[in-house]
Amino acid sequence: MSTKRNPLARSLTAALATTAMGLAVAQTQTDVHRDAATRNVGGDPFMTQYARAFYCNLPDDNNQIVIASRAWNNTTGTGANAQYRIPLTQIFDDVWFIGNHYVGQYLIKTPTGLVQVDAGNTANEVQTFNYPAMQTLGLSAAYPLTGVFLTHGHGDHDGGAKWLLDNLNARSTLGSADAAGKTYAPLTIDSTNLSMRQMNVGGKSFWILPTPGHTAGSTSAVLEVKDWGKTVRVLINGGQSMTNSVPQVAQYLDSIERTWSMASVLHVDGVMTPHIYWDGEGAKLNEINATGRTNPSQHVYGHENVLRQLAVARECSAAWLTRLDTTVVLPVWRFNTVEFTGGNPTPTQVSAKLQSGWGPTANQKVTFSVAETGASCTATTGADGVASCDVRPLRPHKDKLTVSFEGAANASFVELPASATALVCSNGNCNAK
């Protein structure tokens, strides 16, 4: 064999040497969680470009992407600065976005008036942009701005709240822990009560969840909107980005975990994030303005993607906390998906595969059930992640079969729950009876 190796061999040798070197150096907990965040993305390039990159900005030592995004926070919008603005853009039947490419507000039409999420950077900004936008949407004495929900008390979210109070008599609602010293007399949400509950903001029902961490008074919310006539639940994240403070990051992590629970319980499908660059909503808004709103709306990310994004956020937060406190040991959250194998289920084939970014999820119980008849069976996944059993009766073209994994946990991992539903067919292809 020649001593002159070809480039491929050299590359392979180099790669092997690098791998060996990597294995020789103990992986830190931060590395483990950053890797978990990547695995939880599931190969989605959009989530890689946005949620994965921004939620992991600090553990990736890549805060420059946040600083660069901050440069888009231009509030004048005149002349050359017009490029920073996003015009009033309808994202749902009853919701419009207005703002710039860094931060924006959502205007919601209700039967009795408008409700706004966040209050802009400054009085001048809301007077220049939001007020005319509201007029376009029908603002009048008979159709007022009835309330403002503030995600938190930073100036880029409540800078125009005083103007809205003084000029439109609209009270803002803010987490109590951020309310000290505010001049706009906010109605407060008890930030010490971390439970999820419903509240009325200007006539619109919000599920609210105090989520301290970004600020002490950050509040996340879920609300129902209409998308082409269909009711959709959307998540408003109360505040993104972390600091170098251990207690704040510990709170942030806890808040992300509770937000995941809220989004799961309420079956959230969509997102309405004030910082639109964080999870790619800015790109969606550009798309709406270029080619129109799709059905479903671009802001309907899908339930699985909303939960996946939060699982990514959780792992990024865990990665940062374990950097600031190298002694804390946190289990890794694994985002699982389950899908029927061989196309739609049939009476003779009830089989599904459970997997995550780590590969097949083995030795876990999954349940197959039919809501219409109550029939069900339970099976355990094999090494290939596949489980199968008999569900009887199972009626083709009538029953919908649901496969569900309730989740599992040990000291090292939290296997997140997953489920899928499909119509039972006679041959795995419902289009060909």
Binding site: S241, T243, N244, V246, P247, E257, V328
Partner: protein
């Protein structure tokens, strides 16, 4: 699930159940647990020498005060509270009171559970507010509210480390890292620095994170002379937009370093702004 995702969503009934605390000492104020405490697994820590001993925590909000119970889960029966931490805002700062429920005096419980309690407490306390004031009480001393007896975060962590060393002299020793302000005057308010020492010697290679509210930070690695210095930057890009930032204390955090046979416990230090 590991208990955390849903823990905050459960409504907590606020009622008294002193018997559940397994501390029956007439005349001494009892810790208050809800009738059905929503126990969650305690977060793990590499500081804990016996992770096989099961511990749990339950959090209760009482008005503005947050009370957290640390409980040992015996092989059979209900969890037994071993420590309680009360975090309460006061007029000037946040007050944190910690009570060891198995100790009758300032001396510690030398059992395995007693040692693990101190180790979990250390890990737990490290994640509390570094600007708060801390005090340590025991079973016979329900209150520790005398202002003069309160410690800084770093002092309190040091006390816990010393107590753990006292009750477990043969276990893997904990090394306490200390930080003091850098000797040379900073060029501006955004330049921050501390000198890091361990075992009374300058410590080289220590990572130190700096944080100034609302969201400025930087990270430095200490040199051979122990100096760790860096320039604060606003992590949200709001540089220069927050008034009086230079009048806010800076928190320096040593994140700990646990390697085989050597434990450097995490700690903090407060750099107060120049008057």
């Amino acid at each position: 699930m590991n208990g955390r995702p849903m823990a905050g969503l459960a409504a907590v009934a606020a009622c008294l159940l002193a018997t559940a605390c397994a501390v029956d000492n007439p005349g001494v104020e009892q810790p208050i647990l809800p009738a059905a405490p929503d126990y969650a697994p305690v977060p793990g820590s590499t500081l804990v020498s016996r992770p096989d001993l099961p511990f749990k925590i339950a959090r209760v909000q009482r008005g503005a005060m947050q009370v957290t119970f640390l409980a040992h889960q015996p092989a059979s029966g209900d969890p037994v509270p071993v420590a309680v931490m009360s975090v309460a805002p006061s007029d000037r700062a946040i007050d944190v009171s910690v009570r060891l429920l198995r100790s009758d005096s300032a001396g510690g419980d030398r059992s395995d559970v007693g040692v693990a309690t101190l180790e979990y407490l250390y890990a737990w306390t490290f994640q509390q507010d570094p600007l708060a004031r801390y005090c340590l009480g025991h079973r016979q001393q329900p209150r520790c509210e005398v202002t003069g007896s309160r410690s800084s975060h770093a002092e309190f962590l040091g006390k816990l480390a010393a107590l753990r060393q006292d009750v477990a002299p043969t276990s893997v020793p904990w090394h306490v890292v200390t930080m003091v302000p850098a000797a040379s005057a900073p060029a501006d308010a955004d330049e921050v620095g501390v000198t890091v020492t361990s075992d009374r010697r300058p410590m080289e290679g220590a990572t130190v994170f700096f944080h100034r509210a609302p969201h400025s930070g930087c990270v430095a690695t200490s040199r051979a002379d122990g100096l760790a210095r860096c320039q604060l930057v606003d992590q949200h890009g709001d540089h220069g937009e927050h008034a009086d930032e230079d009048k806010v204390p800076v928190v320096a955090t040593f994140p700990g370093d646990v390697r085989s046979g050597r434990v450097l416990v995490p700690t903090t230090f407060i750099l107060n702004p120049a008057p």
